[in-house]
Every structure is written in structure tokens, then in C-alpha cells.
């Protein structure tokens, strides 16, 4: 079964790289440029895992995760936080909001895939 990943990032570069890496690994990739778009897409489609940036315009990643969890529809949806912050605070904020795990940018393709498999059945 093809797993569907929703990628949320305001950087086209990162979205493009995620798309490349994930589709090469056999995932179906959806893209959103901010949290608001991400939420809208989740309303319309079912996804298996979400990868989201934190710093985004309109709705940032933290708000996005909170909103996703608040819907009550996606309690078991793994949400991975994309962050360049190796410092703990962004990660903690993301986790507190309901994030499942995180991926540190710049990501290695294999690492990215393995992290996804860590949180997806």
C-alpha cells in the first residue's frame, strides 16, 4: 500500500527535496505551503504521516499541529517536525503541541525515510 505523506513547508526548496526523496522511496506526496493549507488538505484527504516545518507564515507549525490534534480526527496521525533547530526548545514546543517526532534539516534521504518508518505502521 502506498503511504501518503503531507509535507508542509514555506520553502519551495525543502518541499521539492522532500518530494524528490519521498516519491523516490515510493510515497505519495502532498504539499502545503503553510499550516492553514495543510489543515485544509487534511480535511479533504486522508494521509498516513505529516512532515511539517515550524517557521511558516499564515499558520506556523506549532499552531498547525495543535489544530490537527484539536480536530479529534487525527489522534493517531504521526506528525514529524522539520527543524534546523538542534536546540531543544523548538522541538519541545512541537512535541508539546502534539508532534510525534522530528527530523533535523538538512536531512539525509535515508535518515528521513527511516524516521518515517519509525512512526508509521
Amino acid at each position: 500500500m502506498t503511504l501518503r505523506v503531507l509535507t508542509v513547508d514555506d520553502s519551495r526548496t525543502i518541499l521539492a527535496m522532500l518530494h524528490h526523496t519521498l516519491s523516490n522511496a515510493g510515497f505519495e506526496v502532498l504539499q502545503a505551503e503553510d499550516g492553514k493549507q495543510g489543515l485544509d488538505m487534511l480535511k479533504a484527504q486522508d494521509v498516513d504521516v505529516v512532515i511539517t516545518d515550524i517557521n511558516m507564515p499564515v499558520m506556523d507549525g506549532i499552531e498547525f499541529i495543535k489544530n490537527v490534534r484539536a480536530t479529534g480526527q487525527h489522534n493517531s496521525l504521526p506528525i514529524l517536525i522539520l527543524t534546523t533547530e538542534t536546540s531543544q526548545d523548538k522541538r519541545d514546543q512541537g512535541k508539546a503541541a502534539g508532534g510525534t517526532g522530528w527530523i533535523v534539516k538538512p536531512f539525509d534521504p535515508e535518515k528521513l525515510i527511516s524516521v518515517i518508518h519509525r512512526v508509521v505502521h
Binding site: 521539492a16 505551503e33 479533504a44 486522508d46 511558516m56 539525509d108 512512526v119 505502521h121
Partner: protein, 777 residues
Amino acid sequence: MSDLDDFKATYFDECSELLTELEEQFAVIEEGERGADRLNAVFRAIHSIKGGAGAFGFSALVGFAHAYETLLDYVRDGRVELTDDVVVLCIRANDIVADHVNAAQSGEALPVDYGAEEKARFDALARGETGGDDDADADGEMMDDFDIDFTPVMVNLGGSMAEGEAPVEDVFESAPMAAAEGQWEIRFTPHRALYARANDPLLLFRELAALGTMSVRAVLGDVPPLSDFEPFAVYCSWEITLVSPGLSEVSIREVFEFVDGDCDIIIAQAGMVPSLADIGFDISEAPAPAVADAEPDLSSLLALTEEEVANPQEPVAPLADFIPEPPAGPVGAQDSFEEAPVLSFAALAEEIMPAAPPPAPKPPVAKAAPAAGGGESEEGGGRSVGVQSIRVDLDKVDRVVNMVGELVITQSMLTQQMDETLRARYTELVRGLEVLAQTTRGLQDSVMAIRAQPVKSVFSRMPRLVRELATKTSKKIKLETIGENTEIDKTVIEQLSDPLTHMIRNSADHGIEIPEKRLASGKSETGTIRLSAEQAGGNILIIVEDDGGGINRERVLQVARDKGVVAPDVNPTDEQIDQLIFAPGFSTASEVSDISGRGVGMDVVLSNIKKIGGSVHVRSWTGKGTRMTLRLPLTLAVLDVMLVKVGDSPYVVPLSSIVETMQCSRASFERVPSGGRVLQVRGEYVQVIDLGQRFGLATQVQETDQFVVLCETEGSQKVALVVDDIIGQQQVVIKSLEENFERVEGIAGGTILGDGNVALIVDVQGLRTTHLHQNAA
């Protein structure tokens, strides 16, 4: 690798947008507006630039951007005050980031310490020092932090590990905690938060199982009597035995990385510690007795559930989902601890599954619902959300624009071929052609709108230029921009940057005075250059205005005379003198500085602008300032023209410059002493240029049968062109004469008409200027 190149191209595109955004944000921040939104936008821009840079291994850029970002973060949360000094530093930092991006793009290396001074100041500020010039050794602490903190890893899109990656694994393997025995006991007690964040014990076990041979026992001792049972509380924990030679605690902890803080983890090496009790495990909660206690409860729970299920009014349905199988849990748990049954991973999965769900409001149901409900709307609904724009390769748009251009020509050719006889005969065809003309026009407008871009992309490069010029000239200069959302064809925009740069250099260098002089003449110390764009009919006006000293006409005239640009006996008007700065060969050499005088004068501006069908006009007020106006066509693709005949040749006059036409027989010409003619139009005297005479074409047409085309040039100056006949109006595609032949005075370019004939495009402004010189000579 081509994929990587694609990503890089995307990245540099994105960088240029982000850098533009930075300029814009700081233009407003500089004005004093320092809202959180702006700071967030600035932070995001730098953050994104850094993120991409990391992916491509642009480490110098990453290093600088990281330091800058840290400062911005501090500013954002108020730890560092955003004083004017900090704003100036940030603006400088933007320039440095831009230079780093450019260097990365071109592959050139910047000096190793490029931006080091600014970086040191970021650190000083972040440490709470306001100064920062005096601590050369400030590089220390934070700098080192960055190096440790942020090590860019080159992305290898080929799929194989990046080179630096393998050793990381080694580090873990060889960690000092590694145990020779390799048998570990793990006690794992998830909290509710673990489930709330969509982490799943089963997945953790799967990962652990990959590390070695594993056995897992569910501990259900904490399950309370039914009276105290909370449906969403977490009662289950697990004991795990993991055997693998050389397995380190670090590797095990890594598995639990994401759930750190959301569970209790006790990891102990078997043999090194006698029992879990010794490492602080509360033996009073030891599983064996607890399980014994729990079992009756569970049985009663089970029994009760069956009862309740039989009686569906009671809201216990969720329990029924997981209760039927739990006996497997207690069985395992009962045997637990001393004699753990070793389960295969597959068996484990089956066993854990029913036990795991109870705590979380876990939801095969929740997941299935949207799948079923949302499935239908998926195709349509999902894609329509949030997609308001698409990115199209510029080449494709250009191709469409060119094809539409050809279509327009073909259409006008068809119209032209319809002579009166045909028109009378085929009325339907004529109507069809009219509709075609209209539709073609509409199509052309729509296509041009696709390629139109706000002038912002050019304007945004100017603040930096002005800053640098101000520094170099020791002047204080402020740049104001107006109308930056005005849209022009992309091809025009591309040609705009150089002329605009020249004009602004000229204003900063020659226009704006030094602060002392400004103060002495009662002006504010800071000079202003105003850059504005507006649409006027079929043209875009780009205006560069300064409040400097104005053009030094005496000097300009002197230089022009010395260089033979103006004959000694001619006394041009002030306005004509102002225009002289654009005259070919004119450059106030004695004033050449390293700013304006870079080997090219303002005449280059003029010729560049002419090349794209535009014109330049300058107006100056002594002591008050200078205004230079660029008039540009909205598009380069197609020009609306009036087709006229001079001698036997067709000429075209841009429609945008034509005010009116009249028959010569009705015009009132007057001779002037110099031998030329002027035309009186509603009380105004207008210079007359006979195109036949001007271009040396013999004409058989009686003067009374000729026509006058009244044109308006820059600065509302009018000029009357005398032509032999007016043929009609049409659209043409401009072809450069300079590229295909050479520059001709009075001619702006050539075009191919619908019937295949070549016609020259009259350069009205140029004619007027050269006429002045000719008369002078």
C-alpha cells in the same frame, strides 16, 4: 547530478524572493514600524535561506545566516532591543547574506572572514553587550557553539549515505556504555501523552526488535478495579529483554528518542544489576502480585462488559473493542519476570496489539471514518484547496507570447488584404475578421498579463545601491519608492535594471549635495531620492527624482560646447541643456568619479531605453533637484502604430505619441527667421519636421495634399511631422535596427508589415532632439 541542480535553481530563485522580501521588510522597519509580524517574516526569510544552504553544503552562508538568525530570534522575543543601530546592522547583514548567496550561486569564494565583523557584533548583542566594536575576541563562545550546533550535511540524493554519515553509527556502537554481555532489561511505562502524540509502543518494539533478540512482557498490574477504571487512562507497561552482542544503552535510548519525557524508561544491563529493584524500581508494585490482584478485576471487567454489551443502553461500547482478547496479556504477565516466555516479534505484535490500544482514544474507527467519508471528495476537494497559482517555465510563456505576436500580425495582414471590393462582397467574412481582431487583442492582453511583473523586483535592488553610494560619497541619502506594484512586461523589467542603476548613481553622485552644503542651503541633512512607477495610458513612467542641487547648466553647456555637442553660437534653452546629459559623447569628464563615471555615460541609459521602445526626459530645478522620467512601453511584444507614407516608403509612428492628425491644407504654418517652419495649434507654436526632407526622400505630393501628424514628446513638448499620406492604424512587432543593421538617427527600429514590406519606426523624441542640433549646426 541534475536533480541537485534543479533543487539549487529552485533554491536560488527562492533566495532572490526572500532577499527582496528582506529589503521590503527592512524598508518599513527602518521607518520605525517594528511589529512582530515584520520581525517574524524577517526571521523566516533568513531561516529559509539557511535551511536550503545547509542542504547544499554552503557552509559559509549557513554559518553567517545562523548567527544572524540567532540575533533575530533574540530581537523577536525581546532579549535584544531593536535599536536603530541594530536595524543598520541587520540591513548590512542582509547585504552580506545576499553576497553569500551570490557567491554560492556563482561558485566564487568570498574571503574566509567575510562578514566576521558583523557576526562578532551579533554575538556581542546576543550576549547583551550594546557595543561590540571593541571585542575582537568575541568570536569565542557563540561561534564555537554554532560549529558544534550546526553541522551541515551534504544531501546525497542518490540514496546512498552521505560520506560523513557512517562514522556516526560507529560512535554509537563504540560508546563507552557498550556492554560485553549485551543483555538488557528495559522497563517501559508510557504516559498518556505518548499516545496523544501518536507514538505507538508497537512501533518502538519493532525498532527494538531490529536491534537484537527480544522478548516482551505486558505488565497489567496497574489496571485498577473496575470502579476506578478510567477508559482513557494508561495502565499498561512492558518489560523487555533485549539480547544483542555489543549493544549499547545509547542505541536503546535512541529508539525512545521521540518519546523521551512521555514515558518512564528504565534500562539496565542484565548481570550488572541484580534486579530492577536495585535500580529504583518500586518493588511494591512488582508485577507478580499485582497481576494476581488484577486478574479477578479483569475477569469481572470482562464479565461485566459482556453483560453491558448485552444491554446496549449502557455507554461502554468502546471497551468492547479491546476487551475480548486481553486474556493473552495476563497470561504473559502471570508468567512474568523470573521466567519470561520469549516471543517472536510476529507473535509479539499480535499480543501487544490488543493491549496497547486501551489507553489512548485510539482509533481504527477515527481513521476509517475520514477514509470512507473523505474518499469521494479526495480528487476534487483536495486539489482545489489552496492552489491559487502555478509556476510555469518562462520559456513556455515566451513561446506563447511570440506566437500571439505572430497571430496579431497575421490577423492584421488579413485585414489589410481586404480591399474595398472584397469588403463589399464578403460582409460575413469581414465581420468574422473583426471578431478575430477583437479576440486576438483580448488574447494578447491576457498573455501579456501573464508575463507582467511588478517593478518591485527591480526597485528592491536599489536600496542597497543607495546605501553603498551614500557610504562612498559620505552623503546622507534616503530612498523612497512609490508604486512598486506597477506591472510591466518581464522583458522590459529585465532591461530596466541597468538604466535605473545609472540614473540613481547619477542622482546620488551629482544630484544630492554633501550634508554641510545641504544644511547651508536650508535643506535637511539627508537627501532624498524618490523612485516611482506609474502607468500612464499605454506607457509606464518610471521617475527618478532627487532633492539635490539640480543640474549645473553652465557647466553642462560648457562641456557640451567643448566637446562639440552644441555649436558655439547656439543658445539652447534650460530644458534643452538638461537633455544634453543624455547626448552621445557627452560626459562631464572632469567630474568622473568611481561611482557615476564607470566608462559609460547617461547616453547609454538613453540608448538602452530606446532599445526597448522607451524614452527619457530630464527636468531640473536649480537648487531644488532633478527629475528624470523614463517612459516605457507596457510591452515589447507588439506596438500600436499609425502607418504613414513618406515618398514611396511606409513609416510607422507609435500611436502612443500621436496627439492628432490634420490635413496640411487646413494647418496654419508660419515661417521662422531661421528658415524652419512652425505650426500654430490652438495658440501654441509647434516645431515642424518634414519627414521627406529629413530622410532625404523625394516627394511628388503637393504640400496641400500632405498630412500633419502631431506628436507629443517628453515633457509635453509637441512636434509636427509632415507626411505624404496616412495609411491606417495597426500593430507591429518591433525589430531592432541596431542589432540587425546599425543605429540610425531618428529611427527607433524596424518592423515587417502585414504585406511583407519593411517599415521603419519613427523615433519622435529623437527627431526632435537631432532637429535642434541640426538647426544649431
